[in-house]
Amino acid sequence: MSALAAIIARDLRIAARQGSATLLVVVFFVLTVTLFPLGVGPEPGILARIAAGVVWVAALLASLIALDRLFQADFEDGSLELILLSGPPLELVVLAKALAHWLTSGLPLLLVSPLLAVTLQMPAEGYLALLAAMALGTPSLSLIGGIGAALTVNVRRGGVLLSLLVLPLYVPVLIFGVSTVEAAITGIAVKPHLLILLAGFFGSIALAPWASAGALRLALE
């Protein structure tokens, strides 16, 4: 248990020292959201209508950017191999690293998202639902993205391939994340959508570590 805590602490410390990583993810998020009013036009009616979708899509893309940090650095300098040989089971290591990853990229996105929703003039009823949906959705994004990151950790120029692999798997989270906010805005029941997001979260926690660990073992052979 303390080994896992040590892994989380190490990842957090590295991210803190390299503060630019978290900042980069947040700045990319803000920039992407900013592009939409510039492209679509600033009419409040249109922006309010697409606000939830834009925030979620930008969050997905920002998560994709952050995935490079999950396994790549540790794989390249050999720490992952050491962990595999002497540490706790790789599946638990994946969970620990996903948690640290979420704390340094998912959580900042979650905290910034209401501010960006304000700039897109999202109706007031949607903010709490947006926070709740992102709280449940971004951990799933870290976990599912971890599968893609593990599969492409040893691939040359794997960034684009990572996007192709991971974005289709992100689609359910996107769909239900947006539908949660839309439900809150139109006044219908939000709980079913949140429950589906929660189910996705539990499913990811249970299944994604196995796929990621399998892929990492493959890369470390």
Partner: protein, 261 residues
């Protein structure tokens, strides 16, 4: 090294690990003979059944009272969609067999299935779009089934891209197998999408718990076309496996020739 030895083996000897069950056909020479015997049959059946199915679909099946003749697109659209799902399920199953039992042909079977599965998916989307314009008034709509089939298409493309991304074939096989199994969650989503979401695409009419809801005059052409497409898939699969095995043999022979220089 084991795969090298197996790829080159030209004799009838069983692999050293024991010849239990399907591992008998891991011997490329034996598989080569089996596929050479099967291929003419599957190819002939494919051509025959598709020809028969097209005849039934175009001339025998009745026109729809509402849609007229354009309903006949269904006889290509529905079998393609069924085959798209079938191919992905087959790919996931072959990947699981390859991961668990390390059967060398299982990985290659999954690899060979991906392009034809992607083709069936694309055909389903294309014919559906062509059918949707006269029937729904639109080329495309983001309803549950169309979206999830589009996601299936991207999963196929990602699977093929992952195979290309690795230099080592064995690693590529296992990475792709993991990806195929992760993406398999999309298959039940596609199947039940028309039940879970009440959107534009019509609900299930054939594969339902209550039995088919369409008349035999339309059901039989569908079944014949589906069987024809399945034989086509089997033909392409066998050809693909033979091609993969030959390519491996050629590569090993080339390496051996180079190392002897």
């Amino acid at each position: 090294m084991a795969t090298e030895a197996m790829a080159l083996s030209q004799t009838d000897k069983a692999p050293a690990r024991g010849a239990a069950g399907l591992h008998r056909f891991a011997n490329p020479a034996r598989f080569s003979r089996l596929s050479a015997r099967l291929l003419p049959w599957t190819a002939a059946l494919a051509v025959g059944l598709i020809a028969l199915g097209l005849y039934l679909a175009l001339f025998v099946a009745p026109a729809d009272y509402q849609q007229g003749q354009s309903v006949r697109i269904m006889f290509v659209h529905v079998p393609s969609a069924w085959m798209a799902l079938f191919c992905y399920s087959f790919m996931a199953l072959a990947s699981a067999v390859g991961l668990i039992w390390r059967h060398p042909l299982a990985d290659l079977a999954a690899k060979a299935t991906a392009p034809v599965g992607a083709l069936f998916t694309f055909t389903a989307l294309l014919t559906g779009s062509l059918w949707g314009k006269p029937m729904w008034g639109t080329w495309w709509v983001w309803d549950a089934r169309l979206t999830s089939v589009l996601v299936l298409f991207f999963l196929y493309l990602g699977y093929m891209a992952l195979w290309q991304a690795f230099d080592d074939d064995a690693k590529a096989a296992r990475a792709a197998a993991i990806l195929a199994l992760v993406g398999a969650v999309n298959v039940p989503i596609i199947k039940f999408s028309v039940d879970w979401w009440n959107t534009l695409h019509q609900p299930a009419s054939v594969l339902r718990l209550d039995g088919p809801a369409i008349h035999a005059s339309m059901l039989w052409p569908l079944v014949v076309m589906t069987l024809g497409f399945t034989c086509y898939f089997a033909t392409v699969l066998l050809l693909g496996l033979r091609a993969e095995l030959n390519e491996r043999r050629a590569r090993i022979l080339r390496q051996r020739a180079l190392s002897r220089l």
